[in-house]
């Protein structure tokens, strides 16, 4: 009734054909060379990569204090006391620096914090 198995058969036959032609290429041809290879330029300079970044969490009056503490424990693996200290800093001072280091990791942390709906940003240090 379904036409799906027929399609799969065709796909398998095609892929087998492709594999066998690859084998032929592998055995007979020399590796292809490119005369003028295009070299992709680095999008981020070395200086930018070296600059440390920090993850900042900002206060908002809606998120519960217990919830924010739990998020800090989960995302950064901080013990409860440290997580609470940061939570209270956010609450009283409006912001707290949770982590600092390489940009990629900082971006990942900010993404996780946004997944928990906290107001978090990444900032360059200095």
């Amino acid at each position: 009734m379904s036409r799906r198995p027929h399609c799969e058969g065709v796909a398998i036959a095609r892929s087998e054909q492709a594999v066998s032609s690859l084998r032929v290429l592998d055995e007979t041809a020399t590796p292809p060379t490119v005369e003028n290879p295009a070299i992709e330029k680095e999008t981020r300079g070395k200086e930018e990569l070296d600059v440390p970044w920090q993850v900042v969490v900002h206060n908002d009056p809606v998120n519960l204090m217990t919830y924010v503490t739990m998020v800090f424990q989960r995302v950064f693996g901080y013990p409860r006391e440290k997580a609470e200290r940061h939570m209270l800093e956010v609450h009283h001072k409006g912001r707290s620096i949770l982590w600092s280091g390489l940009r990629e990791r900082a971006e990942l942390y900010v993404q996780q914090l946004h997944g928990y709906l906290l107001l978090a940003t990444i900032e360059k240090i200095g």
Binding site: V62, N63, T66, Y67, E107, Q111, H114, L117, I122
Partner: protein
């Protein structure tokens, strides 16, 4: 209304029709569509305005992931809330069972709803701290009650997660 842990689930029982209706509204309240302030709060920028490139990349790659994550949580909650379906007209108190493995989805959906409602009504710190205001006065008062009721549920779920 009472809440307790029963085996591997949280049970909210003796739930009166008014509170049951507030629970039913979680998925709709969590949806920020059509409310720019709520949309802005749920999808806040990851850096200040000077980081244009980072913000553009975030919008393109991260925001769709966050939308999927939030939607998945509200869908889980909506499926649990189906237990309340068909009880709208009986006015009898009912029970809602939240499986332990859905606790994170509930925390997320409740938070989405609280943040979206608070952004929509632009509640002040003073209003958000007023846990005794009657929900009957106005639509704004009802929404404030909703935010606080959802917060109470979040607290309970967090407490239960900690005990485990």
């Amino acid at each position: 209304m009472e809440i307790c842990r029963h085996g591997d689930a949280l049970e909210i029982f003796d739930l009166d029709p008014f509170l049951a209706e507030l629970l039913r509204q979680i998925p709709a309240s969590a949806n920020p569509e059509g409310t720019p302030a709520a949309e802005q709060r749920l999808f806040s920028p990851p850096a200040d305005a000077s980081e244009k490139e980072m913000r553009a990349e975030w919008k393109l790659y991260v925001e769709p992931e966050l939308r999927r994550l939030f939607r998945s949580a509200t869908e889980t909650v909506a499926a649990d809330l189906a237990q309340l379906n068909g009880k709208e007209k009986t006015f009898a108190n009912c029970t809602l069972r939240i499986p332990k493995e859905h606790a994170d989805a509930w925390l997320s959906a409740l938070n989405q709803a609280r943040l979206a409602i608070a952004a929509k009504y632009d509640f002040t710190d003073g209003e958000l701290g007023d846990h005794y205001r009657s929900p009957i006065g106005s639509r704004r008062d009802l929404s404030l009650f909703q935010v606080n009721f959802y917060g109470f549920l979040q607290e309970f779920i967090l407490q239960e997660l900690e005990v485990r």
